[in-house]
Symmetry: C2
Subunit: 318 residues, 2 copies
Amino acid sequence: LAAAGRGRAEQLPLGVGDDACLLPAIGHPVLTTDTQREGVHFHSHWLQPEEIGQRAVEITFSDLAASYAQPAALLVNLALPPAMAQETAERIYRGIGRALERHDCPLAGGNTSRAQRLALDLFAVGRGHADLFPRRDAARPGDGLYASGPLGLARAGLLCLQARCTRFPVMVRRFKFPQARFDTAHRLAAAGVRCVMDISDGLAGDAAHLARASNVSIRLVVAPEDLEPEMVRCCRALGIDALETAIRGGEDYELLFACRPEVFEKLRRLLPGARQVGRVEPRGDRLLLDLPEGWRSFQHGAKTGRGDAKPAILRRPY
Amino acid sequence: LAAAGRGRAEQLPLGVGDDACLLPAIGHPVLTTDTQREGVHFHSHWLQPEEIGQRAVEITFSDLAASYAQPAALLVNLALPPAMAQETAERIYRGIGRALERHDCPLAGGNTSRAQRLALDLFAVGRGHADLFPRRDAARPGDGLYASGPLGLARAGLLCLQARCTRFPVMVRRFKFPQARFDTAHRLAAAGVRCVMDISDGLAGDAAHLARASNVSIRLVVAPEDLEPEMVRCCRALGIDALETAIRGGEDYELLFACRPEVFEKLRRLLPGARQVGRVEPRGDRLLLDLPEGWRSFQHGAKTGRGDAKPAILRRPY
């Protein structure tokens, strides 16, 4: 387990294993948390234990990337079923360690406890940008809406796993190994982009979140010719609609951002996978415009069906 | 729910409800996390929902107090059984809000998700002391070992709840409403005390943790005449041994600290409830000395029976 938690030697937290741990000073501390629960967010037969750990860290760090923050420390609480082998828990930690190593971030604490089903609660602290804290409420009419990469691939990969289809490993890989987009975040921060979030619930769901927060409407502009050919082939094999998968499918953990079109034009060559997915308009009756036929349910917001929600108190800033 | 998360206006985090939130600068960030799981750490029929919330926050903040840190932000992940009424979840948040108000700390984020049993995962960030980060590995032979208040009361209260005995409300209150001992922590920090932890597992268990970390042995010196008369009456009514309850019983969340006896003499009038519970000696064969008869099991450390453990990776600093 020596791999988990290796990081910059000068930044190792003090007191790991004590009641609490101490980090070096942070000028702009950014906090986020994520829960990955067996049976709600994933199923163990989809993922190897290492993949469960690695994926949970990337998903948590995706929120830091969307906030222009660099990982400074991670804490992990693991709920383990009594029947789970010690080795499985160690493999989960090994996956956590791999992701931490990739992001040069120390593991700063955590607990294990017994529970009926496997669950991971991750808490991350990041070093935020000195001048910019991007928000989902900063989209303005006239902005374009952009994604840092192709969408729907993780969803197609998940459906492959469920269907035990092994013909599209690239899609499966996108589901198993999301990568927090710090690369894109750096470029966006340097360009002063102020409206960013990560796409966890799917484009339609998250664009609706962004539209509601910014009090705008968003016209989605994903066309069939924008889709990845491999994803189109995969969706065809699975008998599902590729456009719907791209618009609705979640867990890609790409960044969604809004900025003036001329800003995006300048950024485009620095962000090879980025593409336009919508246009921001003044707030009308509906949050989302130009959805494919039969998608009325998205016009009043997003339901992910994952049983997750921000508690009411967190939905309205106090 | 307006009460939850009220705090110093100038310190409210930005972006609550976004992907992450931003705090003001922290010179000495201290991190800790705690899990409270129905069926492992508590039972719902012992506690009202508000009490579950309030207690979980105090337990988490107890680790900050033991680290000389002031609460700066709390994140809470709540796992809710599908059958739980929305009102019950709101009452848990109300209790969380009460504790946050008491400590002038904002709620900075969190999630809810579905699970078979109620669980709370709390993550706290504190503002640490500029010069001192107390550790459990700093006890030295010749130090006295002290507790900030009486021990075993919470355990007696818990046993009252289990036995449906209503004659000792003070004991029950000590179980239901632990209070993070920031008052004592301030005095200890001002006196330069360097070895502190909180007593969650019980004196014997936590003294063994401290002895192991400090590579010393500890001679416990709790005498029957040191016990609270009300606790002695309560234990008699319950048919249990009061001394054993004081030494073994957990969840008091008092502070355990080691320092030179002359330092404690100067502190004594500032810490009305504090008392000596042991003496630190050079490391011998056993971690704990002078345990009551029949307690050999503690000589090799502590098992709390709660199914909790620090993951191996956190036990040895890397």
